[in-house]
Symmetry: C2
Subunit: 417 residues, 2 copies
């Protein structure tokens, strides 16, 4: 392979025309996209993706977890596959870039390589993972593919179980099929994902390309403080066991713990609910939803201990019971050095300013990092807005991201030749 490949770029016009077409599927308002996993709009987007792939002469495939891929095979026997992708589903009432851009860019990379007859030592595959946004099962597609999904995840999902069953049925999917979608890591050359940052850092720093070094781990818990209900006008204030006091004290403390002891970390109490939930009855139960994030395993573990210990202390302080339910986690991962270096070289070759960045949001790359060398490319999100119709990434940044993906993929492919 001569060095002409260094001048190869994606077809900007085709990329833009694809983007505009895809934005119509599940469109609402001027800039909104609503394609919840396995909804009609999502299924239509996936059919559109496969049609585009076939029109370009690529091989299409759907695995048991519903992951849709398009494949450009090399002529070398037993060659490994370099995967590139993201997800076509969106949060309900979300934006145009999150996930979709990574799948479109991967498709465009395959087409550009195919039409330029670039000889490769690896197969290339553009993949759309199922339910990244987790309205059914968090990371259904990439967890199934990377072998992390358990039967329990399907029988006791984070979302509504009945809705999961209905959507799977509609999509012709089954629990058996999903669990059988597990890949053979030996066949994988790596995984590359282009994604919008969903945060404000790249834009604020004037950086074109974020080279993701780490993806934060995240844990989900339900905490229920348990006191004793009673008439709010007759039981003395001293004698109350008021569940709201424990949950409120913890909600304040969780923020303080992160600010003071874990300044690089994040926590959130996004849900609160009291029982019986009446004006004139002392809350018997106060249920809150806790999540916390850290990019480093050691810190993640310490943060968890600090938060859960404090949760217990607040229960004791107010003479309450406490029920701690662990609802799942994704552990922090560090992305592959070789991949990061290839992204850096690709950015430099394109004259783009790059910087390492930690991903605070979760991504399919987090699942893939367990089974193969994984790299992730971020491009700026205007004002950091995410999961909103107002989500915006300037088009030039999208083109830059797709070209970095192309040039990174070529560098990895060459390393296998």
């Amino acid at each position: 392979m001569d060095s002409n490949w260094k001048n190869l770029r994606i077809n900007e016009q085709r990329f833009k025309s694809d983007f505009d077409e895809l934005c119509q599927i599940g469109k609402f308002g001027a800039t909104g996209v609503s394609r919840p996993a396995l909804s009609d709009a999502h299924s239509e987007a996936r059919r559109w993706f496969h049609r585009k792939a076939r029109e370009a002469g690529l091989i299409t495939h759907i695995d048991g977890a519903g992951n849709h891929s398009a494949r450009l095979e090399c002529n070398r026997k037993g060659a490994k596959s370099l995967l590139m992708g993201s997800h076509l589903d969106s949060v309900p009432n979300g934006g145009r870039y999150d996930g979709a851009l990574g799948v479109l860019a991967a498709l465009e990379v395959l087409r550009s390589l195919k039409e330029n007859n670039i000889p490769l030592a690896v197969n290339l595959e553009a993949i759309d993972f199922t339910d990244e946004e987790g309205i059914l099962v968090s990371f259904l597609g990439s967890f199934a593919f990377s072998g992390k999904l358990t039967t329990e995840d399907l029988t006791n999902p984070r979302g509504n179980r009945l809705e999961l069953e209905n959507r799977l049925k509609q999509a012709g999917m089954s629990a058996e099929g999903i669990l059988a979608a597990r890949c053979d890591p030996g066949t994988l050359a790596g995984y590359l994902e282009l994604h919008v940052e969903q945060g404000p850092l790249l834009e604020a720093q004037g950086v074109d390309i974020g080279i993701v070094s780490n993806i934060s781990g995240i844990s989900f818990y339900r905490l229920t403080y348990i006191g004793k209900a009673g008439h709010a006008g007759t039981i003395s204030m001293q004698d109350r066991r008021d569940a709201s006091q424990g949950s409120s004290a913890f909600t304040l403390a969780a923020r303080q713990i992160v600010l003071e002891q874990f300044p690089e970390c994040f926590s959130n109490v996004g849900v609160a609910r009291y029982e019986p939930g009446l004006f004139n009855v002392i809350p018997e139960k106060a249920e809150i939803a806790l999540e916390f994030r850290s990019a480093y395993m050691d810190q993640f573990t310490k943060l968890k201990s600090a938060l859960l210990q404090r949760a217990e202390e607040e229960a004791a302080r107010f003479n309450l019971g406490l029920n701690i339910e662990f609802l799942g986690q994704r552990i922090p991962v560090e992305l592959d050095e070789t991949m990061r270096h290839a992204i850096l070289e690709a950015s430099e070759s394109l004259g783009l300013r790059s910087a390492p960045i930690i991903s605070r949001a979760g991504h399919d790359a987090q699942a893939m990092a367990d089974v193969c060398p994984t790299g992730m490319i971020f491009i700026p999100s205007v004002a950091g807005i995410s999961h909103s119709p107002d989500e915006l990434t300037h088009w030039q940044d999208c083109v830059n991201g797709a070209n970095v993906l192309l040039q990174t993929a070529l560098r990895i492919a060459i390393s296998f030749s």
Copy 2:
């Protein structure tokens, strides 16, 4: 009138038999009663009350607010009426004594006086007020009767408006009729109410009869802290405007303010709800329900100021907006001196131990105190349990209470002769 009246007692057997019959209406489990206002069970209880009254030769009446009464008229022209009563409705899944006992005792007093041919200078009326428990409109019947009810209370009720409309329609009631139920205070000699304490004090102190000196005022507010939603993994902890912080800080502070500055008062935050209410989104809104109580007007006003000022301070501290919605109140009342003295004398004449007590719960007497001399008699609640099928008052205490009601009514009646 000779002094034989001092030996008059209610008919215990009839009183018990009535009690047992009434407990069957809306009964659930062994000791539960569920008669929400204007439900079928409640309407049946009211029909039962009127049938019993007519069987005893009393005159029955229903006013525009659905208040059911039974009347024993004296033969003096232009005589005033001494009302005695409470309410036959219960909270959903409540107990047997709350409200019902006061109506039964009033009926029994009328029958005892009638059959003993006690000549009186006032008319006596046993009254069952509509919806005391306030599942439709708080104190619908006694507020209408005492002229406190407004059109607004009916068009924007604390409960569900559609349910109110349906229940009124079923009961053949109208807004016009309700507002026209206003009494002429000039016709009233007073109001007496027998009720279970719903608190633990009388039992703990070994007191037979509580002479209510004051009924606590109560205020209802909805407080909404307003911040900014955002991705809980990408927006820095320092930059967040997290509505949960304001509501949690206030929930803790409200208790501390009462404990430290208003030790005789009560407050409760019984409801909390965050928006959008998702694990991974910073709460944009945190809505809480606040109620607080004080027995004295001056203290009530100071408590309100202290709580609402602190609510504002917590909003400022966390850089949040705050929306304060006033949802209604019942101001504290002091009950009539003459009535209290008559209850004391009646108790002493019966050899019962009495003590003054403050009512922390609201009662129809609170509305009536505005329009006529009002007295209230409490009897012990075992363990203070209230609004529960486990609510219990020993039968001897019920008999004691009814006899105190009888002897108090006689003393008041005599004062008019």
